[in-house]
């Protein structure tokens, strides 16, 4: 049931050889992505697709976090600009963001990230709570922090990411 939830189109060149054998601990698996240098993770079970750069149609008057919409095999996917959502620096000109397509309340959303990494299994026991001093806009969407070698990975809550506007 879980194994087919993650497809890897050829466009996703940056996907490393993650552990795809989703087993009992699928709940603890995250897909890593980088947003303006920050390593983040989204629960792998929520991910439906990973796409390379896409043609995105702007949606006038939409909340600023909404980058637009794109066509995923006949379904319309609303793209969320993670940089804006997380109050990070705007995209440089010529940036080619990748899309991590997640499902939220029956609708598909694409999270625009700089790079998409791999699927990791995280030990829930190692998850640290949000540092109290964390920026409020991050605290709102972060499920906790993992140490990953040299860097820190922030686990994002898809549900809360969608609370826009």
């Amino acid at each position: 049931m879980q194994t087919d939830t993650l497809t890897r189109p050829s466009g996703a060149g940056n996907m490393a050889s993650g552990n795809l054998a989703l087993g009992a601990d699928a709940d603890h698996m995250v897909l890593t992505l980088t947003v303006a240098g920050q390593l983040c993770g989204v629960p792998a079970l929520a991910v439906r697709d990973v796409l390379g750069q896409q043609a995105i149609t702007r949606i006038p008057l939409a909340p600023p976090e909404v980058a637009g919409s794109l066509n995923l095999r006949g379904r319309i996917v609303t793209a969320i600009d993670l940089r804006r959502r997380l109050h990070l620096a705007p995209w440089e000109a010529g940036a080619k963001p990748m899309s991590v397509v997640v499902e939220h309340q029956g609708e598909l959303y694409s999270l625009l990230a700089d790079q998409v990494g791999e699927v990791l299994s995280l030990n829930p026991a190692e998850r640290a709570a949000n540092p109290p001093t964390l920026d409020a806009s991050w605290k709102e969407v972060s499920l906790g922090v993992h140490r990953l070698g040299e860097s820190l990975l922030v686990v994002l809550d898809v549900e809360r990411l969608m609370r826009i506007g």
Binding site: A55, T57, R58, I59, P60, L61, A62, P63, V66, G68, S69, L70, N71, G74, I76, T78, Q105, E107, Y109, M162, I164, G165
Partner: protein, 869 residues
């Protein structure tokens, strides 16, 4: 009869299929009242329908079986396995008869006396034993009653007989054509899936066509054309499977109303019009609940009890009217009652109490705006909560549900007269034609059904975009059209457009409001599959959905409703609810919002003139203005146009090098320029004119944008210009009740001239552009004192119109005055013959008011003669 029988067979077969299972489960749990009730109901239904259809054999068997089941249900007889077997046998018999009925169209011959005797015995409480398949001998059945022992073999003998007659032909019926019913039941899911597939097919077809367009002489083009055609046909076919007459959503309402009328102690009748109007099944499902709710509301809150009605001088029996009709790609449904109407005072009080608005805000709102509070969540005006309604969950849910499917709901209510809700919903949610346009580099789709026409604007002779202050307008066939700057509205780019910047104007209509949307480019029309926008975009009201185009890109679908609202054009839509919706009330009644041009001229208050009267606005260089005797003229479009100063200081040449703002009035050959100091703004306002203290040249004053503003008497100024239009005179004398005048006139120029002039003269005037709409008002039960009609009109002219009035109906006896530019004796004679009361030259106000006064006096006189009798 055949249809009825077919329906009966379909339904009975369904019932019978479930019956076996139900009986078997009853056998396992003899005490399950729900199953028992279900079995009873099924048999009961079969019996009832049989009686109605004249199927005596079936009826008798079903009746006997029902009797047994009835006792079981009461608990006066225990459910035994033997009993169940007996019932199963009866069901088998029913099946056999039904099968015979299906193949032959009539009940097969046969004798059920034994079966019935057995059932009757069981009904009397006698123990019966049948060799049913699931009938193990009961422990308590060692002493079978003698009467039963004997018939035991009999049913076995009797049963094969009808079965032999009926079953063999029944088998081939399933496969062969025969007389089998011509309908099949298909699960809704299957239809839905088909629709989705067809939608995708349409998209793929579009994509292919797009590709083929770039390739000429492709070998694919012919088969592709064929594919396209078939796809369209398939789409139509699948759409048809989803269409149902709206009457099926109304089916439950008569019963509901009957029950409500009992519960509430009111007399109510329900009238239905247009039940055959078809709409998409999916849409129908979605409106069923809102509809029920609204009818419930009408019965509970809307209509009064018999005493109250009698006291109010109304018939005791209240009336709820359902009306449905198609309009464009929409279905319009009206749910109206002739009850007490909404109490503005009570709503206001409640609004203030609930803190939804302050007293000051309420004071500045129109009645319609206040009424709309009933669509707010948690708002109910019912003084007491009844079992029927009044809990404040309702109208907001209705509104949200309807809006979710792209519908709108409006209400129109008059205290003491009743309330009408008007719902307008798209016929189908699935596939629509749309125009693809581009603005500021972004593409958008505009639903075709709200596009009236497409106008190319440019530097040539055609229409141009002109600016009034910073408001773009366009003159299209003597009509000043407000324009919406799409790129600005959608915040695509911020700089104001220069006149002549955009190259196309999409003329759209929302309700009665016509406006233009300025776009840069227009592509094709394309069939689009409307997909709802993601929930996080719900607040963006400018779009009704999004779709994928042939080239695979995603595109937003503009919602003309949202645009109108977003630009303030929708004032009317929000306020004078139904006026924007039903064609019948698309009148330019003077209490409606009117677009007025505000300007300054001379000293004192700002001045206003209805925008519709102005043909053009010009900024003339002083050099072009010439002196001719005492007055000023300008060479304008090949003729001399008189310029009249509004400042009151006589004709003064503007300083050389300066520019003179001029309002140009005109109707074909005549034109006249009014010199003003400065153009201020264009506003939508309710033009309520107070005639007190009016100066010459002004109808009176009106409060516009919180400022006292003088409203121009165009007739006076046109007269000053020498045009032989109106001669300004004293006003008609004050009348206690304003006589109601209906004006039917296709020229909006003339309508705009007459409506304010007559309303200032003390008449309540309703202006309509054509006789068809007028007759619709007659159907709607509107009443007038007098009718003014133009003669030369497209479609239906004045003579045909008056004949239609004289043919009968409530307007039969009304005076009808003809207005015409030509008043030759022959014309007058033809007019009188057709039924006109009087004939007045079009531009003679004195004669018009004289004729009106006379006609109304005559009517009053006639009434005073009639009444004592």
């Amino acid at each position: 009869m055949d249809d009825l029988l077919a329906d009966f067979l379909t339904e009975t077969n369904e019932g019978l299929q479930s019956l076996d299972g139900a009986l078997l489960s009853l056998e396992r749990n003899p005490d399950d009242p729900a199953v028992l009730a279900e079995v009873f109901r099924t048999i009961h239904t079969i019996k009832g329908t049989c009686g109605f259809l004249g199927l005596p054999r079936l009826e008798k068997v079903a009746h006997a079986a029902e009797n047994v089941l009835g006792r079981w249900r009461e608990g006066s007889l225990p459910v035994t396995a033997a009993g169940i077997s007996l019932i199963l046998r009866a069901v088998d018999r029913i099946k056999a008869i039904v099968a015979g009925l299906e193949s032959a169209g009539a009940e097969p011959a046969g004798d059920d006396a034994e079966m019935i005797a057995l059932l009757d015995a069981a009904f009397r409480g006698e123990e019966v034993a049948v060799d049913g398949p699931a009938a193990p001998p009961q422990a308590e059945a060692p002493a079978p009653v003698a009467a039963v022992a004997e018939p035991e073999p009999a049913p076995a003998a009797a049963a094969p007989q009808p079965a032999a007659a009926a079953q063999p032909p029944a088998q081939p019926t399933e496969a062969g054509p025969g007389n089998a019913p011509q309908t099949i039941r298909v699960a809704v899911d299957v239809l839905e899936d088909l629709m989705v597939l067809v939608s995708e097919l349409v998209l793929t077809r579009n994509q292919l066509m797009q590709l083929a367009r770039t390739e000429t002489n492709s070998a694919f083009s012919v088969p592709l054309q064929r594919l396209s055609q078939i796809t369209s046909d398939l789409q139509d076919g699948v759409m048809k499977t989803r269409m149902q007459p709206i009457g099926s959503a109304w089916q439950k309402l008569p019963r509901l109303v009957r029950d409500l009328s009992h519960d509430l102690g009111k007399k109510i009748i329900l009238e239905q019009h247009g039940a055959e109007t078809e709409l998409d099944r999916q849409v129908m499902e979605l409106i069923k609940d809102p509809l029920t709710h609204m009818v419930r509301n009408s019965a509970d809150h809307g209509l009064e009890g018999p005493e109250e009605r009698r006291a109010a001088g109304k018939p005791e029996t209240g009336r709820i009217t359902l009306n449905a009709y198609h309009e464009g790609g929409h279905i319009v449904m009206e749910i109206g009652d002739d009850g007490r109407g909404l109490s503005t005072a009570r709503i206001s009080e409640k609004v203030i109490r609930q803190g939804l608005a302050t007293e000051a805000e309420i004071a500045s709102m129109s009645e319609q705006e206040i009424h709309r509070f009933i669509f707010r969540p948690g708002f109910s005006t019912a003084a007491a909560i009844t079992s029927v309604s009044g809990r404040g969950v309702g109208m907001d849910v209705v509104k949200t549900n309807l809006e979710r499917i792209g519908g709108i709901v409006e209400l129109r209510s008059r205290e003491g007269r009743g309330t009408t809700f008007t719902i307008k919903i798209p016929l189908t949610l699935a596939i629509a034609a749309a125009l693809i346009v581009e603005s500021a580099g972004e593409r958008f789709a505009i639903p075709q059904n709200s596009v009236l026409e497409l106008v190319r604007v440019g530097d040539g002779d055609g229409p141009k975009i002109e600016m009034i202050k910073s408001t773009p307008v366009m003159r299209l066939r003597d009509r000043l059209l407000p324009l919406v700057n799409l790129s600005r509205l959608l915040a695509l780019q911020d700089q104001p457009v220069a006149a002549g910047g955009s190259s196309f104007v999409v003329v759209s209509q929302v309700g009665s409001q016509v406006f233009g949307i300025m776009v840069d480019r227009v592509f094709d029309t394309e069939e689009i599959v409307v997909k709802p926008v993601a929930p996080i975009l719900r607040d963006v009201t400018m779009f009704s959905g999004n779709t994928i185009l042939g080239d695979g890109s995603v595109i937003m679908i503009l919602d003309p409703n949202g645009i109108a609202r977003g630009t303030g054009l929708g004032v009317e839509t929000n306020g004078e609810a139904a006026a924007t919706l039903t064609a019948a009330t698309r009148s330019a009644e003077s209490r409606d919002h009117t677009a007025v041009l505000l300007f300054r001229a001379g000293e004192g208050a700002p001045k206003a003139v209805p925008l519709g009267l102005i043909a053009r606005l010009e900024d003339l260089p002083a050099e072009r203005i010439e002196q001719a005797g005492d007055s000023l003229v300008v060479q304008y479009r090949g003729s001399l146009m008189p310029l009249i100063p509004l400042s009151g200081y006589g004709a003064v040449m503007p300083a050389p090098g300066s520019k003179q703002a001029v309002l140009v009035f005109g109707d074909g050959a005549h034109s006249m320029g009014l010199m003003v100091d400065e153009i201020l703004d264009v506003m939508e306002t309710q033009l309520v004119i107070d005639g007190a203290g009016a100066r010459q040249g002004f109808l009176g004053s009106s409060v516009i944008a919180d400022k006292v503003t003088e409203v121009l008497d165009c007739a006076y100024w046109l007269h000053q210009g020498g045009a032989d239009w109106f001669s300004a005179t004293a006003k008609a004398k004050e009348v206690t009740r304003k006589p109601r005048v209906l004006l039917v006139e296709d020229s909006s120029f003339f309508r705009n001239l007459v409506v304010p002039a007559l309303s200032a003269a003390g008449y309540a005037i309703t202006g309509l552009p054509n006789p068809r709409e007028a007759l619709r008002l007659r159907e709607a039960g509107e009443m007038f004192d007098i009718i003014l009609s133009d003669i030369n009109m497209p479609e239906m002219d004045g003579l045909q119109f008056v004949r239609a009035i004289r043919d009968g109906g409530p307007w039969q006896e009304l005076p009808v005055i003809a207005l015409s530019a030509q008043a030759e004796p022959d014309d007058v004679e033809a007019g009188r013959e057709a039924g006109f009361t009087d004939y007045v030259a079009k531009y003679d106000r004195d004669a018009l008011i004289g004729a009106l006064t006379q006609a109304i006096e005559l009517q009053v006189f006639a009434r005073s003669i009639d009444s004592p009798v």
